[in-house]
Symmetry: C2
Subunit: 389 residues, 2 copies
Amino acid sequence: MNGNFTYCNPTKLYFGRGAIENLNIELPKYGKSVALVYGGGSIKKNGIYDRVVEILKANGKEIAEISGVMPNPTIEKLYEGMEIARRAKCDLILAVGGGSVCDYSKALSASVNCEGDPWQKYYIDFEEPSCRTLPVGCVLTMAGTGSEMNAGAVITNHAQKLKIGHVFADEKMMPRFSVLDPEYTLTLPRYQVMAGIYDIFNHICEQYFSGEDDNTSDYLSEGLMRSLIISSRAANKDLNDYEARSNIMWTATWALNTLIACGKTTDWEVHMLGQAVGAYTDATHGMTLAAVSLPYYRHIMPYGLKKFARFAVNVWGVDHAGKSDRQTAGEGLSRLEGWMRELGLVMNITELGATPDMVEGIADSTLIMQGGYKVLTRAEVVQILKESL
Amino acid sequence: MNGNFTYCNPTKLYFGRGAIENLNIELPKYGKSVALVYGGGSIKKNGIYDRVVEILKANGKEIAEISGVMPNPTIEKLYEGMEIARRAKCDLILAVGGGSVCDYSKALSASVNCEGDPWQKYYIDFEEPSCRTLPVGCVLTMAGTGSEMNAGAVITNHAQKLKIGHVFADEKMMPRFSVLDPEYTLTLPRYQVMAGIYDIFNHICEQYFSGEDDNTSDYLSEGLMRSLIISSRAANKDLNDYEARSNIMWTATWALNTLIACGKTTDWEVHMLGQAVGAYTDATHGMTLAAVSLPYYRHIMPYGLKKFARFAVNVWGVDHAGKSDRQTAGEGLSRLEGWMRELGLVMNITELGATPDMVEGIADSTLIMQGGYKVLTRAEVVQILKESL
């Protein structure tokens, strides 16, 4: 590890069955008015909503509801939430849902007390909040994004066909606490579970496939990937396997809370491609990543051959003896593809609703990152998108 | 992962060359009076003391020095520091040194404002502080103990022949910030570096060799061990290899900041044996662990055969094909022994000053833990100590 860095992740995590009861420890630390943020209402069917409201009331809280936060939360939805939170003078934002609800809540935290348009401020100019932000707590119902322990918030602007993530600089923008009960993820549909698993895996890849030095972070990444592969196969066999779902939930948190990027450059080009596809199709985030990954990795493999060969050996157990780096690296990507097909991931963007005539537009919406083994040209972006159709 | 747990580590880590300059960000957050805690004076020779004092003065601080903290800090030394910090009405404790200096500073933090005897309170009755504790910051000069990002504090009582660690429950007892500059560790003597490396490795083992479920924590542990083995070999060849020393320093932090124990039972019997040896011989902590490890692991291997075989394959790359678990597990421990000899670790307690007539006394001082694959009887403790002579 040659790089310098600062690491600080103060989020308090309550993990395991019944972890929701820890809200009784956290809630008394904040004022009376709570913005309760959630999505399409699945938490009303599985009882989580009722339990959360019960605990909020038992702690004497007044609730301002911000419901209907969509899978790719929009800037218009953010404006709506700002109005509600301002009117209610909220002291705490409690997100109950998956990564979108957590992301939305962080964007809201940075916008309630601030002057100006948050889209321009945070997603075009990438400024930091100049106002008092609100504390955020999360009750997580889906594993994948890692939003429960980081300062990232992705917002979509359909009018501008942009889906952009802002990672706030101040660790105070990370959730103050997050409740992670793997049982809360058991009622999710298979499609969402598998999309979440690939989102996790790809978060690790984006940080792993970058840099040339020997770095402890990469060994941690390999450990997380090995754990995820084993747990995902167990969950694929039985979605109710608590042990597996528990490991998946925990891996998600550590895949994107900055630990495995410490002292490293990172890539994130797959996310840029996937987010551009998402802005055009509104498809499930993890599936957009799955659909563009293999064309991207096969394209950059020759430029990071040593790392791709290491990936094959250390993550997939490929035997390197008597093989060239190129052969071993290729076998690693074939193993990755096999696992992705096993999980039933979407392997092309056509299935997600993208059409050939969208390719140029998606390419225009794709940010080009600097950290990967090959910085793409626009022509290469187009080529990868065509190979992803 | 089947267990429930809470995770929170708010320590802010400044890592890399020149990281000391970040004191200028941290110091203004605290009051005027700073207790500057350090050891035998090596920081005066390598210039670290001068730079720290310069920065403290530039930030308008008044310094109360607590110097001469020994490698196994004693309860008498703690009483002395309490007097100094009380007189100076300290607002912040700044530890500049290795794990002993950091541990001592945390014990001091919990004792300055408290009534009663800290030995009785924290090390016999294992109470939590009932008073206002002082914030601690660390400038680390040796990699090994992980004290820079945890709430542990080991203190030795020579009169009672006890060396006991207290892990405080409140995350506020963790250092508020730690400065980790790998260059600060480059001037350490080889013996200390290698002892630190084995301390790190053993911290991981104590958490890894426990439990039967599939747990993400164990995959992270394997990643840390693999990284440490590679970096330790590079450092053994060239102590000035910054990349290796940097990885070692980072691995040390994550080996003992509670992450890899999440959702798990843990063992810690090697530390109990080593600390008892330390109480009798005052030997370097890491070497006491090295000297008792192999007799202990060979003794418990049959009770945790599956995990020891996994250790052999996933950490040491032993080929399991066509072998029994017992064969593979045995090969793993042989590889471990080979690596320990390569690093020049002390492989028996005789070399550390222990004599056969001390064995019964050391056994009396050895706490018996409940989390390992075999809970030892006193007779087994004696047997392992005899095999360690």
